[in-house]
């Protein structure tokens, strides 16, 4: 039978290559695995890899090419929200199918997109709830620190509303942003120290974008802000990002995700091993130290969900696959059986909170009992009450 083409739309060059290359790798690995097990409906999958080069208009161009020229059945791709926004109209116009694997700010629902990363209520809100709990240190004062773009701004807007609803006063919230690629956190860390001196337990909620994290954490470590005093919980720092950081001074700082490499279960062990082996076989640089992370798991789950839906629909036709996707379940490396919501194209996901270990992995210190349904339209943003499904 003819192979089924699927597109992989991740930046392999430019600023985002640092994060997205691993997603391309895991997508290729998953496709190989599916092919090795007989493919989809007896047809092999043929990946079409393109490089949108961290350039947003190029994302749209490549998306159009994948869907209209290469006629791929589905596309797995994008990381930044702006890249997703750039390709959305293309998928809508051509009725294509996109799987988006990264946590994001919500406020969006597209018929042609399936979101396998977290919405704010599946990551940010639980993390803050944890910080406010006795166990998490009973924080009373919050620094919302981010890179100046939409995801941090939106997340912090939601968090501010959430904190207010929990009775935190505006005076107890400090919000600050840095430009993309900012690498000098001296002033900001001094400000945090000052803010934290008010006598109430303070925590930092970081939505700092990948590139700025190393200088941020280095400065944090050298300025002597310890996790036991002022814990930092990050939403964009995972195992892959920590590979570039000397983690010893950071032990105890936190991250919130729906998956950690350190999750212990059979699915995850297999997943990690598969990826390690694949990396070795394919000559990925530093293959012996490769790690898995949340968006990689989301990519993996997304591809399998799509496979199941195609098999259920017995067709790769977009509309049929979309119809078949709602309600699909998959036993994911995160240790839970994840369900694709019937109406809102988001996965029900568990939430984990991990503390950084000296070896760059996370100690899971808290997790939800079961997967949580996504709220892409945050109830903390006025006017969203009426919005839910597609």
């Amino acid at each position: 039978a003819d192979p089924i083409k699927v597109g992989i739309l991740h930046s392999l060059s430019g600023t985002m290559a640092i994060s997205e290359t691993a997603l391309k790798n895991v997508a290729l690995m998953t496709i190989e695995e599916i092919n090795a097990n007989g493919g989809v409906m007896g047809r092999k999958l043929e990946p079409v890899v393109v490089d949108p080069a961290s350039n947003w208009p190029l994302f749209a161009e490549k998306a159009r090419q994948l869907v209209s020229q290469d006629k791929v059945a589905a596309v797995f791709g994008c990381w930044t929200s702006v890249s997703r926004k750039s390709v959305n109209p293309v998928f809508k116009e051509l009725n294509g199918l996109l799987f988006y694997p990264v946590q994001y700010e919500g406020e969006e629902l597209e018929k042609n997109v399936f979101y396998t990363g977290a919405a704010p209520n599946q990551q940010a809100i639980p993390a803050v709830e944890y910080l406010m709990s006795e166990e998490g240190g009973a924080a009373k004062r919050f620094v919302l620190l981010g890179t100046d773009y939409v995801y941090p701004r939106t997340t912090n807007k939601i968090l501010r509303a959430f904190l207010k609803s929990k009775g935190v006063a505006d005076a107890d919230i400090m919000e600050d942003y840095t430009p993309f690629g900012h690498s000098d956190y001296q002033t900001i860390i001094a400000n945090i120290k000052k803010f934290a001196a008010a006598g109430k337990k303070t925590a930092v909620i970081s939505t700092i974008n990948g590139d700025s994290n190393v200088p941020f954490y280095k400065e944090l470590g050298n300025a002597g802000l310890k996790a036991t005093d002022v814990p930092v919980v990050a939403f964009s720092v995972g195992e892959e990002e920590l590979r570039g950081v000397d983690t010893k001074p950071l032990v105890g700082h936190l991250a919130a995700w729906n998956y950690f490499m350190s999750v212990k279960n059979a699915e995850n062990s297999a997943f990690v091993k598969k990826y390690r082996d694949w990396a070795k076989k394919n000559g990925v640089p530093n293959a012996d130290t490769v790690v898995t992370n949340d968006p990689m798991e989301a990519t993996y789950v997304g591809i399998y969900m799509w496979k199941q839906a195609v098999e259920k629909a017995k067709s790769t036709d977009t509309d049929k696959v979309i119809a078949a996707l709602g309600g699909q379940t998959y036993k994911a490396p995160s240790g839970f059986t994840l369900t694709m919501d019937k109406t809102n194209h988001h996965l029900h996901k568990p939430v984990y909170i991990g503390e950084v270990r000296a070896d760059g992995q996370f100690d899971i210190v808290w997790k939800t009992k079961e997967p949580i349904r996504a709220q892409p339209w945050s109830p903390y943003i006025p006017g969203n009450e009426s919005k839910q499904g597609i």
Partner: protein, 537 residues
Amino acid sequence: MFRLILSGRMLGLALWLVLAAAPVRAALDPSLLAGFAGDFQSRMNAIEALGVAGGDDARRVLDALEAGNLGVAADKAVIVDGDTVRDAASGEALAGGRDDVELITVNNRVRRTLAGARAALALTSADRAERLGAAITLGDNPNETLLPVFERALAAETDEEIRGILARAAARINLASPDAPTRLRAVRALGESSDPAVKNLLEGLLQKHDGDWVEAHEDVRAAAGTAIAAIDRRIAVAEGVGTVFSGLSLGSILLLAALGLAITYGVMGVINMAHGELLMVGAYATFLVQGLFRSHLPAWLDWYVAAAIPAAFLSAALVGVAMERLVLRHLYGRPLESLLATWGLSLVLIQAARVVFGPQNLELANPAWMSGGVELAAGVVLPYNRIAIIGFAVFVLTLIWLMMQKTRLGMFVRAVTQNRPMAGCVGVPTARVDTLAFAIGSGVAGLGGLALSQIANVGPAMGTGYIVDAFMVVVLGGVGQLAGAVWAALGLGIVSKFLEGWAGAVIAKILVLVFIIVFIQKRPQGIFALKGRFADG
């Protein structure tokens, strides 16, 4: 909140007992451990109780907890020791495998409590450093019930520094004393502090609550006012110094990022868009040296940075020589083409790094002597790595200055750039001078990369983040003017930091750029404009 205070009270009371009389008991009372089987809060209480109890057995349990080996099995605290599971109280091996044990998660909260418990014990230690650490830990979060502990410790303590900390900690607690003279004394003692937390505490006294002063006594309020003013002064001075330091530090980083370019572009006139990638080469060389040290000389790991200095210089210089020999050589006097070719080179070098080392950032650790910092005042820390980088910048700058101004090579380089054919006609081997100069410029860029590796990302595209800044520094200073680059870098650093304190990082960055635009209007040839009749054709 209530529970927290209560537990503090318990801890204090128990400590008082310990300090007052009790010789250390030899055995561990199993009831002390019962709390571990309960909820989170009861576990915290149990940790504190262990701290109070003291003794080697308690220590053993706390150690196990810290190592993540303490757990609960069948409502009993147990320690997992390899494959055997032992009763935490007695240390006896128990039946049952480790799979039956629910290990206690050590999170920040646990660690904090643990640290408190350990500190309470350490306050009586014979080792000064231990006592000091303990005093700092407890002094950061003093609690009224700890007062007797502090006072007793104070009575026994001879070390001035520790006494100071304990005294201020005691004073903080005494602010709540019902006795007005005690409060007054406490307020006066706290006036010596430079800690914003203390200031906040004092400010609390000056507030009105339901129409009544929080602090009833007028004299105490007046003293508090004086104390706040004194603290404010100290904080203001410390913060001023801190901001200037941050500015210097940012400036020295900009300078290190730009110095190589000041040679290759400023002096030689090659628009080197691959300059950032030379920084990257230097940083990667540093990474490789770190790797070598980790695997072969772990004992000397702290000195890998020193060993990386020649490595970073040479590797970047070698790449520079290759660039010069293969490409730039053919482009002298055609700066436009050098822009295009080096842009191409930069693409190639970035992708080469990505293919060889992978796209992710590399981990470079600050050596121990570059970690941490000196604390000028609470909140104002001068990190050692930044101090080291400032020093390094001075060092590199001196080297370059000597090279350009005091050696014949420097003069030849300048002559060749100013008039290549004529330099040949006085006997300068221009080709060799070019290569050498470019190699030195590249090598200096490599040193810049080494410095950057100590504070920021090391990854394939790290250079792209600096190229714009580097060009701005070189140009703002006045092309070809080494001194100009220094002033430009320091100026930009300090201006940035003051603006940042005032307007936030994003607006500050925008303002700095606007500042550059306006500044160039006033000095269209940079800070150190070339004066003289030859300056305009």
